[in-house]
């Protein structure tokens, strides 16, 4: 072995690299600053719409909010008065109902894709259709709900609305569940299996639990998304000025109510519209905040493996 | 690449080879002293001291290598054996000194019959040579040969011992002088011990090579 030659080589290399570093260092500092500046500008551009929407909604809606507004059904269309009580109740019921259907199906389907299906053709097909479903226009889903559940039952009803919303939720929950489960390292599954725990228990109580935060985030995402849906609700629950009447009767919902208020020519209706929009935003925001504080932040800060 | 351990093993091997040469020289010189009546006590004492120092060195080095490199298998067996072999060589030096010490104590024994000692010393020197040679060439079969030679040495020793205690007609002046018997007996005794240690060296070589102790041991 030619040690001395090798040594010389190394010294030459070191010199070349050090020279390059010195030459570049000034330029690098400038590029660094410019790049940081650009990212900050982009963040601000992204925040402006969000901020201005919140600002507008709060500014115009806050005056409409009152106990009566939150609890009473709508008064006279022409003179105003009353509130959006049925719409709030309807949104809570419809979305809750939809979640009861969509969340378990979505999670279990996601679990199947991640833990059981592997790379089979079937799994591939399911994933493909799932992503198609994610992009499906919600009005189309509303029409399907109308044909399948409204016409057969004979009237607009909450069940049709909940099913339609759950169809929107499922692909989101499936995709998020599968992705977060895949982020759980295999070593965790192996550790569980090595304790002689049956596979279904490993999946439910170890793997899914490790992915808990990601899955919950996905659920909140899906719930927020459907809570603001309007089109499928027009086709299924129709909207009404009455409180909940039963599972096969029409119910009201905030997005529907906002849409109705907005299309009326009266000033007080517009003000109610802003108020309803504010209520809807607060509901969705508080759901996210609730998730963050009650679930994500509690106890397992360091322990949470998959956070989105 | 050279293993770091190999550097240390080379050093141990060098020290051992130095000891081999020095101890062989000591024994040869002591025998010559006996044969020719020359006085070598001082130089042999020095050599024997040197061997003792070298033995300590080998021991220290062996411990250091074990502590620092955790040698295994052949390396470990070699290092362990080096400690034993170094002890053997230092014994050679010690017995050489004992031999010249006897000569000093006895005074002139020029007229004694020296054949028994010279005969045995031939075999013993050959045994030393074979043991050193075995160490150099990692010859596991040397032990067997050394033990055979040791048998003849033992036989010679016992024969002379028996002769010495048998009452003689006191005509032969040489046999009559007690210094002749005593010095010869003592020296034969030392030679017999050297022969044993040569066998142990053969054993060690056998152990280094095969990992098992030699059959005669």
């Amino acid at each position: 072995m030619n040690n001395t030659e090798n040594h010389h080589h190394n010294i030459d290399h070191r010199k070349v690299i050090q020279d390059a570093i010195v030459r570049r260092s000034y330029k690098r500092k400038i590029v660094n600053r410019v790049f940081t500046g650009v990212t900050i500008v982009c963040v601000m551009l992204a925040m402006i719409p969000l901020g201005s929407i919140l600002f507008e909604v709060v500014k115009n809606g806050i005056s409409a909010i009152s106990i009566e507004f939150l609890t009473q059904p709508q008064g006279s269309i022409i003179r105003g008065g009353g509130g959006v009580g049925p719409a709030i109740q309807g949104t809570l019921l419809t979305v809750g109902y939809a979640s009861l259907i969509g969340v378990p199906i979505g999670i279990l389907a996601g679990v199947y894709l991640s833990e059981y299906a592997g790379n089979s053709k079937f799994a591939y097909t399911v994933r493909f259709f799932n992503s198609v479903m994610t992009g499906m226009p919600s009005i189309v889903i509303g029409i399907v709900g109308y044909i399948v559940l409204v016409i057969t039952i004979g009237s607009f009803n909450i069940t049709a609305g909940a099913v339609a919303l759950s169809i929107i939720m499922i692909p989101i929950v499936v995709a998020v569940t599968e992705e977060t489960l895949k982020l759980v390292p295999n070593s965790v599954r192996e550790a569980a299996h090595s304790l002689g725990i049956p596979k279904w228990k490993v999946t439910l109580f170890i793997t899914l639990r490790s992915a808990k935060n990601g899955v919950l985030t996905g659920i909140v995402l899906a719930v927020s998304r459907v809570a603001g849906e309007t089109a499928p609700l027009i086709m299924t629950i129709l909207g009404t000025s009455l409180f909940f009447q039963g599972f096969i009767s029409p119910v009201d919902a905030l997005p529907l109510r906002i849409w109705r208020f907005a299309s009326q020519p009266y000033e007080h209706a517009h003000s109610f519209g802003w108020g309803a929009a504010l209520v809807l935003i607060i509901m969705i925001l508080s759901l996210s905040v609730l998730l963050r504080f009650l679930v994500l932040e509690r106890g397992f800060k360091q322990g949470s493996l998959v956070k989105m | 690449m050279t293993r770091l351990l190999d550097l240390g093993i080379d050093r141990i091997r060098n020290s051992i080879m130095d000891m081999a040469k020095l101890s062989e020289k000591s024994v040869t010189t002591a025998i010559e002293s006996y044969e020719k009546g020359t006085s070598t006590k001082k130089v042999i004492f020095e050599w024997s001291e040197q061997l003792r120092v070298l033995q300590d060195e080998v021991g220290d080095l062996a411990i250091e290598l074990i502590a620092r490199y955790q040698p295994v298998a052949t390396d470990l067996r070699f290092i362990r054996s080096c400690m034993e072999i170094a002890y053997g060589f230092s014994r050679f030096g010690r017995y050489a000194y004992d031999i010249v010490d006897v000569l000093e104590t006895m005074g002139s024994i020029a007229d004694c019959d020296k054949n028994a000692v010279l005969e045995m010393s031939c075999t013993v020197r050959e045994m030393i040579r074979i043991s050193v040679q075995a160490l150099q060439s990692k010859d596991k079969n040397a032990a067997e040969k050394l033990y055979q030679m040791d048998d003849t040495v033992d036989a010679l020793y016992r024969k002379y011992l028996r002769e010495a205690i048998t009452p003689h007609e006191k005509t032969d002046k040489r046999s009559f002088d007690p210094r002749c018997y005593i010095s010869a007996l003592l020296i034969l005794r030392y030679l017999e011990r050297i022969s044993d240690h040569a066998c142990y060296i053969g054993d060690s070589v056998h152990y280094i090579v095969t990992g098992t102790s030699s059959p005669r041991r």
Binding site: G118, V184, P185, S187, V188, R189, E190, A191, A192, H193, S194, L195, G196, I197, P198, K199, K201, V202, F205, I206, R209, S210, K212, N213, G299, F300, K301, Q302, G303, S304, L305 | R3, L5, Q70, P71, V72, A73, T74, D75, L76, R77, T210, G211, T212
Partner: protein, 277 residues
């Protein structure tokens, strides 16, 4: 150390195992017969044969990629969880061929605990739950008993003193070495008969490693330990028997003293004394 004193638990488990007889095959706890394994078309294990006595520690050594992990994972049917893996041959636990078609791999894993190369505590669980998880998910309901076993296991893995006041902390908030001991406690809690450890100390500092080594010496009294290690001195220290593997083959297997003092194969000698490559 008396970490395995829970009679009640042992009874609970053993009734489930009652179909599995207790007699031993030729007195060996684990017997590997003609074991071959492939990943796709690549053969990772070639005709492995060896027997492990009960209450011994056996070390698997060999250069990286020689198949140690694959072998140890074949011993509790963990390897078949890798989708491309194929296993042929037999592994006997006592007198049961664990690869026989009527054997439930879940039960085998319950009897043979495993500690992995990288610490892998359950991420969203506390220290306590990590150790208790195996018990709870295997249907043990008795809270007091679980508590007792958790404490014993954590003491068994020499972690108890460091965590006894904060069992509610997330398992992942421990240091790497503590996490590994947590994983050992988790395996011990299931009261396994055989403990398989894949380089359990590769992420640990010398003190923690020494603790694990002492632990193995204690464990030997109660169970059978098979350990993969890259640290030959460690193999020499902790094991009674050592197996040297090379390119998927078992080159030499014998008492540790013999392997390290007087290996019979040239290849073994060259590997253990660092004359490789």
């Amino acid at each position: 150390m008396s970490w395995m004193s829970s009679k009640e638990y042992t009874n609970t488990i053993s009734y489930k195992l009652s179909s599995l007889s207790d007699t031993k095959r030729h007195g060996y706890k684990v017997s590997v017969k003609n074991l071959n394994s492939w990943f796709g078309s690549k053969q990772a294990l070639k005709d492995i044969n060896f027997d492990v006595k009960e209450n011994t520690v056996t070390a698997l050594i060999g250069p990286s990629g020689c198949g140690k992990t694959t072998l140890i994972r074949c011993l509790n049917r963990m390897n078949e969880m890798t989708s491309s893996a194929i296993v042929k041959g037999s592994v006997y636990l006592d007198d049961i061929d664990i690869y026989a078609s009527n054997v439930d791999p879940v039960i085998i894993k319950r009897r043979m605990g495993m500690v992995f190369q990288k610490p892998n505590p359950f991420p969203t669980m506390s220290i306590y739950d990590n150790v208790a998880a195996g018990l709870k998910l295997n249907g043990i309901r008795n809270k007091a008993l679980i508590r007792e076993i958790v404490e014993e296991s954590l003491k068994g893995s020499v972690l108890w003193d460091e965590v006894k006041d904060e069992l509610g902390r997330p398992g992942l908030s421990l240091s790497g070495g503590q996490q590994q001991r947590l994983c050992i406690a988790r395996a011990l809690a299931m009261q396994p008969e055989v403990l398989l450890m894949d380089e359990p100390t590769s992420a640990l500092d010398p003190i923690a490693s020494a603790k694990i080594e002492e632990l193995m010496n204690e464990l030997r009294k109660e169970l059978t330990v098979i350990i993969v290690t890259h640290n030959m001195q460690q193999a020499a220290r902790v094991s009674d028997y050592t197996a040297f593997m090379y390119l998927g083959e078992l080159v030499e297997y014998g008492p540790t003293k013999q392997i390290f003092e007087n290996p019979q194969k040239e290849l073994t000698e060259r590997y253990i004394s660092g004359k490789f490559g």
